[in-house]
Symmetry: C2
Subunit: 784 residues, 2 copies
């Protein structure tokens, strides 16, 4: 865990005031820059020391064997793993003949600042070499949101007291040595040097390296071009080899003089295009970047972000940490998805190799809800990527003996890469989550292009999958058996409520979409009998309820299972200390599951049922997943436990900034970062989009004096400004009209209008629930 003081709380920056070598890896993740296409971990310019070097290209992966002690039908044999591609971030510095390395000499000052409005990572170092020569180093790094293939570094060195000879080595390095990533020697072998040289060339101040992966057959090119400004004589030359290229700059600086290196980087990859085409693509991107210039890239970046923040910013008064965290989270959500452009958004974005760089359900369930209301084009792009993997999903369904399409639990390119089916293949809800994201996008934006452009096929094929997965009983109720819901401590069950409800919704929206697009539906083979069968199943969906306890069952029989002994199992996460068989059979919940259903399907549960369910499941939920706190914040807020909700918001917000799960070093938890937005907007903003209309029931905890956010709804940006006693809704001048609800009251606003309504905070029906021993969230709220 990162101590609270490591990063001072500032509204628009994340600042590391001093270098702590023990926090290198998490800091590299926090300071990662990305545009959704290229990802740079926040490694030091000089390459070493490092926690984990990381440069990624979205969807550029290698295949690796998935081993099984005992094989089984339908087990994926080949996994997909993100690879660390050619590192273009490296600028090494020699002061006279000593390498700049923070572990040697004296580091008088060191600061790194991630600027959420500038979109840059700025580093300054004041260093005295072992020989006593003092230099000031400053680097500014960006991965361009505007020029998708481009990144850039400006690196300046100033001689402080004495004349020094400065040598800069600006590099491209492929196949960097990494810490061992797997105990399986075959996997380690695959990942040890994943790139095979295809071509390399260099000019005076730049070079290009072209590589391919051994098994997955993908090619990539990385190019650099260096521009140097220095007083007096400067020598520049470049050398290249299979796995590296180096532009060397040598000059002499008098006291107070500085050398400035501007390094333009471009990346491209393809599974189809030839290596000359890739090489030229990278050269073209470099030309564009030089044409724009470093200052131009900085300006573009800031403008891009201004527009984003204008639409997406969330203002939180009263809790400066949450204020910082929600912006930090939105920034990284944007970085993960902004220019993914029909590639997926991995669970870690492009910030680290965690989870093998895979995309899970959290993209559709956590990240896209945020993007849909703040950067809808990015959401549409991510859904177009899913649609582009429909053929793989169809094949998987056929392999599983199901109709339609079964999307993978984890993947990079679309093939199932999960090596443990009870927490992989069995988690069919991912299909309903995808369908929900398609429908949410349509409802929120009013756009139908996504639906006709692949979305309908996704809805139809997932509906078919559900219809073949579920079954009716003799009483006509529709069930889904043998699946795993969001809670991975309760696997392979019947009638998981969340799964059943996303399945029913999937069936219903697929039928409706087919009726909206009859010709397209016909071309997919859908007839009225099929849509009628979908609606019938959806209407008959079974939702298990314990009549004695008067509480919904997360799945059939859940409330009758043996209780987990929390006192006897004090070590978390539980999965590292207890066998699955015991976790699975008892009432212990890894992460919000029934509470996820309460959130997503708010209109299917009465207030009393919600209050009882929150009370019941809070006591049994251990939050061993970073996905949990945000949803618990939303449901706690809904049932009136506002201080508890505030605690959960803080936990969701802190997952990476404080490294709560001790694995931020492997990459950020993008879904949890998105969850901070969900927790604030859906929780304290009380926003729901159930049933096609936008509803707010805002309410603030005592520790937050103002919450201001905007959402895009059918092309209009609606700003919601919540204070303890009242809420103001407003639409800007240049927007169009919008209809929404404040509680049960329907409101209409035209351009430039605003309206204020009182905030009514409900009295909770039940006292604040307790969590399992030791698993209460960090206290933030004021009521204890």
């Amino acid at each position: 865990m990162i101590a609270q003081h490591a990063f001072p709380v500032e509204p628009w920056t994340v600042r590391e005031a001093a270098l702590d070598l023990s926090l290198l890896a998490p800091a590299e993740s926090l300071f990662a820059l990305s545009n959704g296409h290229i990802g740079f971990r926040g490694n030091l310019d000089e390459g070493e020391p490092h926690g984990l070097p990381g440069t990624y290209l979205n969807s550029f992966y290698e295949e690796r064997p998935l081993p099984y002690a005992e094989a089984g039908y339908g087990y994926p044999e080949v996994g997909q793993t993100v690879v660390n591609v050619t590192d273009g971030k490296i600028v090494r510095l020699f002061v006279d003949d000593e390498p700049f390395d923070v572990r040697y000499g004296r580091l008088l000052a060191h600061e790194r600042v991630l600027d959420l409005r500038a979109g840059t990572l700025v580093r300054t170092a004041d260093w005295v070499s072992p020989a006593g020569k003092r230099v000031r180093v400053r680097s500014t790094r960006l991965v361009s949101f505007v020029q998708r293939a481009v990144a850039a570094v400006e690196f300046t060195v100033e001689a402080v007291d004495d004349e020094v000879r400065v040598t800069l080595q600006s590099e491209l390095v492929a196949n960097e040595a990494l810490p061992q990533q797997s105990a399986d020697p075959r996997v380690s072998a695959v990942l040890k040097a994943p790139l095979v040289s295809v071509d390399h060339d260099c000019g005076r101040a730049g070079a290009t390296l072209v590589h391919r992966t051994r098994a997955s057959g993908l090619q990539m090119a990385a190019g650099m071009e260096n521009h140097v400004e220095a007083p007096g004589r400067v020598d520049v030359e470049t050398h290249d080899a299979d796995d590296w290229a180096r532009t060397t700059v040598v000059c002499v600086l008098g006291a107070g003089e500085q050398v400035r290196l501007q390094k333009y980087l471009a990346y491209g990859w393809s599974g189809l295009r030839s290596h000359p085409a890739l090489r030229d693509q990278v050269a073209g991107a470099l030309s564009g970047a030089r044409f724009t210039g470093f200052e131009g890239l900085l300006r573009e970046q800031r403008e891009y972000l201004e527009e984003f923040w204008d639409a997406a910013d969330v203002q939180v008064d009263g809790d400066a940490e949450v204020q910082q965290a929600v912006r930090f989270g939105l920034f990284h959500v944007l970085q993960a998805g902004a220019r993914a452009e029909q590639r997926g958004i991995p669970a870690k974005g492009l910030t680290g190799p965690g989870y093998d760089g895979h995309i899970f359900w959290d993209t559709e369930a956590y990240v896209l809800p945020v993007l849909t209301y703040t950067a809808p084009e990015a959401a549409a792009d991510a859904l177009r990527w899913r649609a582009s993997t429909l053929d793989q999903a169809r094949s998987r369904a056929a392999e599983l003996r199901l109709a339609g399409a079964a999307f993978p639990w984890r993947t990079i390119r679309g093939e199932e890469s999960s090596g443990y089916w009870p927490a992989g293949t069995a988690a069919f809800h991912v299909n309903g989550d995808i369908a929900a994201a398609v429908e949410r996008y349509r409802i929120a934006t009013g756009e139908t292009t996504l639906e006709t452009d692949g979305g309908l096929a996704v809805l139809v094929e997932t509906a078919r999958m559900w219809r073949s997965l579920g079954h009716h009983d003799t009483a006509g109720r529709w069930h889904v058996a043998g699946v795993t819901g969001p809670d991975e401590y309760t696997a392979v069950v019947a009638d998981n409520v969340f799964t059943n409800l996303v399945a029913a919704q999937n069936l219903r929206v697929a039928a409706e979409a087919c009726h909206r697009h009859p010709d397209l539906a016909r071309s997919l083979g859908v007839d009225l009998e099929e849509t009628a069968a979908w609606r019938d199943a959806a209407d008959a969906v079974h939702v298990p309820y314990d009549e004695d306890l008067r509480v919904h069952q997360q799945c059939e029989g859940f409330t009758r299972r043996p209780e987990w002994d929390f006192e006897a199992n004090p070590q978390y996460p539980l999965l590292l200390h207890s066998p699955y068989f015991d976790l699975y059979r008892k009432q212990v919940v890894k992460q919000a599951d029934l509470q996820m259903a309460l959130f997503w399907f708010a209109d299917r549960f009465s207030d009393e049922d919600k209050a009882r369910a929150v009370d019941y499941y809070e006591r049994r939920t251990v939050r061993d997943s970073s996905l949990s706190a945000a949803v618990q914040a939303v449901t706690a807020a809904e049932v009136g436990h506002l201080e508890l909700a505030h605690d959960y918001v803080y936990e969701a917000a802190s997952v990476d900034l404080r490294d709560l799960h001790h694995n931020t070093g492997d990459g950020l938890h993008i879904a949890s970062l998105a969850g901070t937005w969900l927790a604030l907007v859906n929780g304290f903003g009380g926003m729901r989009d159930v049933g096609g209309s936008l509803v707010f029931r805002p309410r603030l905890p005592s520790g937050i004096s103002r919450l201001r956010f905007s959402v895009r709804w059918r092309g209009t940006k609606l700003t919601v400004d919540v204070r303890p006693e009242q809420v103001e809704y407003s639409v800007r001048d240049h927007d169009t009209a919008v209809e929404f609800k404040h509680g049960d009251e329907t409101l209409h606003l035209r351009a430039g209008q605003s309206v204020t309504r009182p905030v009514s905070v409900p009295e909770p029906l039940l006292p604040r629930p307790v969590q399992p021993p030791g698993r209460a969230p960090l206290h933030r709220g004021g009521d204890h």
Copy 2:
């Protein structure tokens, strides 16, 4: 599958009348010789061609990594695999300078005979070399039941027409090349050359090789001594190296002359003893064998078997195939267990490397019931082996966060080696099966030494495990959740009836045993509160029942699960064509599970419930396990479907002789072979030992005119001779008295007495059930 004519039906032999190279591997398994300590597959003397060379020593294994695509707490990391040890069976022959190889020259005749009364494999070949020289070859091979460390081969060659120079190479070969056994290169690497040379030495006509395993740290020695009789001059010399030793015999035979080689073999292994000790142990065994001589070994072998058959033979008139098969099965059960002597009895015996040579629940549930009534010392030895692994089982329970001991699902030495927990660790019933075997032994033999010699500790520790695994509900019923019963197509369920009933029995017999041995119980920390808690749970055990369908549920909710679509899934075994998730959630049964409960706990079910349950589960059971048919035979016979029972007896009997599962080549299905006895004795003999008394309710199908078998009951051998209309019970002169029941009538017989009673065949309550399409057993009975 092996065609019906491949092995002619003979009562006391299995004869292969001609060599079919496509059946080499299954024939090697069928013709395997073993005494439970040493196992020789039926490889040809000359080593090639072969299906799979195989020489095994009980419990001599190597460790291998168990890989997982996604790791989990408590997953075993190290597996145990039986290794092919030094092969002493090999005798190569050169006729003039051409090697005797059945693939070359002309094979005029070739016959192999496994003689079930002699305990030998006799092979004769009449061969003409490519150069036209004709020889008659005869080999007689035995693995001694009497001299546990000894095997022997007599090999004779006769020149038929011309003078020939004959060269014999009698060999020991370590690290024979084997077909690849695993797709995992690490596993293949481990198994490729598992033996490391420690020492070797030779004399004029014999040699010894000492090896050790790399990882498991076991040492073994194999020794041979060759005795030659030939007319005229004969040269004998021996050479040795790390991995081989060879005694070469050269002589010239005139027409009609023969050379005779008698090869004595001895094996020993230890995890503790030094290599000189092992070497000397083998030398000692060789000395004993030579002292006895080959004829002496043959005589001892026949005498040993005479005694066995006198006690164990089952006579079946009217069905010659079943007659042959039940004797073949009893012979291999004896071979697997006779001299195991506190080592386990693997699922394949020592006949092949299938299942890695592991021991499963079928030892206690299928093999020991046969041995308990026919060779009780062997049953006691196998249970003493289990008791010797109690420490590993205690460690495993602790790792699983359970009390007491959890025996492994599959193992060689006692450590869990299962790499898939839903069908491994979750199958806790193995503990109850072990406890049942301990209790069965006590009841059937009247012996209490096993109980005091480790048995009580097994009962106590397994009872403790069950008590911590199960739980009471609010109504006071006792449940076991999250476990897998015998049916591996229905995993990780609540209240599997078979599991619940073996658990309850385990708890009850543990309590009773503690009361019989209060001091010993106290030394194990048992007090009256603990035994009371066991009895309480046992008495409160929940047995789920579907009140609407009036049928027992294999597990909670089973009868409400979706039905399996048998028509849409016509390929078997289903697990190779359907994912676990789909098999697990539907009403499809791999193997007898509820029917196993009907058999073992016959007194807990009414006749009507039995009839309904057989009817219900027959329709859903696909018999993808070789363990199923025997139990289905027993329950079909019980509910009056005698012809169906006969079909199942035939299937159980044919599993290996006809290679029904296409994997006899990997080793025999010892439990299914034992099952033939169970099917006849418990099925048509109607024998049950529930509640401490021995009951018979005999009944014959139309195709069997007489069934005669003997069982040992508390030291007395009771012979039961069933005919269609009557049954005769008799006790021999030199036996003591016995009490048993014929139906509800209690009978007493003293030495030399017999009594005849009429057989009453019940009318079935329901019509003969149908099996899933294509899964009816081969028809044997006469009613359709």
